[in-house]
Symmetry: C2
Subunit: 387 residues, 2 copies
């Protein structure tokens, strides 16, 4: 045997489903129970619940699990961005180990917002080198973004999602009715990612937000227009991920709004929610696109007005710190393997990429963004109202 060089070439098939399931916790809706029992070997199911969700839905959930005789243990996790940590991941792994979760049966379920779903996703991808699980998003942001993505992640040393994996769970159950108990600010937060999706690839979705933003937020996306916006956002995300799930192509339109925002969000994590930071980055990038002649002044104004209509900020002092913006871009470039690959909107509903944006352009765009913010602020003051 003289071979001294070996190659292994193989393929991993990945398939996962996102399914709308209204009235998920209604006692006469067996869907969740069917999912939980279909892979049962009689073991205890770990049911991981966002503490905020447990407060509102804990009793209904317990009643549901009891009704359907699901042997389970509840584990509550904290859902704020500051708790998106390896510590919470290890807490989940420890609980999985304690209940004795098998390799491919008695899979856990996670119910909550993006932080909880990302934490559980990472734990499930690491425990025994990966087990299946089911996820149930309960916030607008997790419903349109996390619930479609293959990514898991936690923050580390001040960097957003520095640690993570690509590991989509086989099934995500979506029940928009959860949104009825979500705070208005958290609805707007989710609106930030829908806003992004409209801007990069779906003019009809943008039109829904532009024409009906305040109403969508006021009734928490419970209207037919709200359902339509959610479905368009999910479908758009799927379309973008389908052929680039592992991000081998680092030119990703869905990264729009995610170039400068990660570090700004982490630095101002007490003030800014993810979707707010994303929306601010979308607007900054719109001003950069405007400077390149892609978007005209009127379109930038429409973008800003649509953000405002969704209850999203159009200015934050974090974006006045040009050093921070450049530092953020430098780190984002490391994530894009040394390239800017900066997604910008060339016309509403269509994205392109820039690779030669200068510090001056960014500072200039931030300056214009600030002026617009001040202008809006003074208009609001004149109207006797305020954010």
């Amino acid at each position: 045997m003289s071979t001294d060089r070996w190659t292994i070439s193989t393929q991993l098939d990945v398939s996962y489903e996102i399914r709308e399931t209204p009235s998920l916790l209604d006692l006469d809706n067996p869907t969740l129970a069917d999912v939980l029992t279909s892979d049962s070997q009689g073991g205890t199911k770990l049911v991981i619940v966002d503490r905020a969700v447990a407060r509102l839905y804990g009793a209904r959930l317990e009643r549901y699990l009891k009704e359907y005789d699901v042997p389970h243990r509840l584990l509550e996790l904290l859902g704020d961005e500051g708790r998106k940590t390896m510590g919470q991941v290890l807490q989940v792994i420890s609980a999985l180990n304690e209940v004795g979760t098998l390799r491919a049966s008695d899979a856990p379920v996670a119910i909550g917002g993006g932080v909880v779903l990302d934490v559980v996703g990472l734990a499930a991808s690491l425990y025994r080198r990966g087990i299946p699980h089911t996820r149930v998003p309960t916030t607008l942001l997790s419903l349109v973004d996390v619930s479609v993505a293959a990514k898991t992640g936690v923050n580390f040393q001040g960097f957003r999602n520095r640690i993570g994996s690509y590991s989509p769970p086989p099934l995500t159950l979506v029940d928009p009715a959860f949104l009825s108990t979500v705070s208005t600010r958290q609805i707007s937060n989710g609106g930030g990612e829908i806003f992004k999706m409209g801007l990069i690839k779906d003019p009809a979705l943008f039109a829904l937000l532009e024409n009906g933003g305040p109403a969508l937020v006021a009734n928490k996306f419970q209207s037919p227009e709200g359902a339509e916006a959610i479905r368009r956002a999910i479908a758009g995300m799927i379309d973008e991920l389908r052929n680039n799930l592992w991000e081998k192509d680092l030119r990703r339109a869905v990264d729009y709004g995610h170039s400068f925002s990660p570090l700004v969000e982490m630095r101002h994590v007490q003030q800014l929610l993810h979707g707010e930071a994303v929306a601010l980055d979308c607007l900054l990038s719109a001003f950069i696109a405007h400077g390149r002649g892609y978007l005209n002044h009127h379109e930038v104004d429409r973008i800003a007005a649509t953000a405002t209509g969704l209850g999203l900020p159009t200015w934050h002092p974090g974006f006045a710190d040009t050093d921070l913006l450049m530092q953020a871009l430098a780190d984002t470039m490391r994530h894009r393997n040394g390239n800017q690959n900066l997604p910008v909107v060339e016309s509403i509903g269509r994205a392109t990429f820039l690779n030669d944006v200068s510090a001056e352009e960014i500072a200039d765009a931030a300056h214009r963004m600030k002026r617009l913010g001040e202008h809006q602020e003074s208009e609001l003051v004149q109207r006797g109202t305020n954010r």
Copy 2:
């Protein structure tokens, strides 16, 4: 848009290479330098080195990297089983973040034994959700086992490899000359995995070990027979993994020796090395096979004698603890999704699986194994020698 159910189906292509590269650190061998510079964007390479390797080869490595002008930072890790922890994984991720390792360039290299390669492998699979790296195994165990596998892992709460991922690095460079400075006990340790491979699928490999075990260990696999044994072990491992890299099929012959040993090894981690625990499990399983009529008495004796010839133990008090063995099997069954799938040798060089092994059979096999161990012990004492 009325869709309320979406499916994403896609494939991940994975390809990786294991390449023999004699004299890896010789200044006139450009292979490692070529690998380190081929993906360079001018950043700093993180070079992670087992502390035991750094002590012996640190100066040569530094001279090599200097000669080839590779901008780098060295990070030393501890290679003992007790340090196969998430703590060391986070230490690597922190260092990657500090030197600013990119998503797909300036990839790190790991040089060391199995613990270090598994720790770095997990870190690399998590940092930015996965970056490439190169691994250089320096012990016999890591050379024939870890260096071929796709698995990474760390121990957690007393359970071996409870946390991990499937994430093979694109390239492994194998230089058997590292073995010349490895201790005899560590050579025997690696011999445990080669022994397993011979037993489950390669009679010619088993014959090499049976006929020349003591000589192989004495000259640290530096002979042509040693090279042949290493290559057969690597080729056998590749053959087993090629079509089951993600272990969708939980009946794995390469799990031979890994059914009872993980927990016994963890409980006696100060006394037992991995390959020693594996060899003990191989022998226990041989006695179980004998009880089923697969192996005759003579074959079991040959298996035990071959282990002894390789400097491997044939008995350890951990295997007298039937409760511990049953607890180990229960946890292994969770890892095999509720099934025993116990690989046993039906004849030397061929494996089969059992799914109905009883506690009595295991206790009986352990008892016979103990008697054989006592017998060998008394023979050794009579000959005036001892392990």
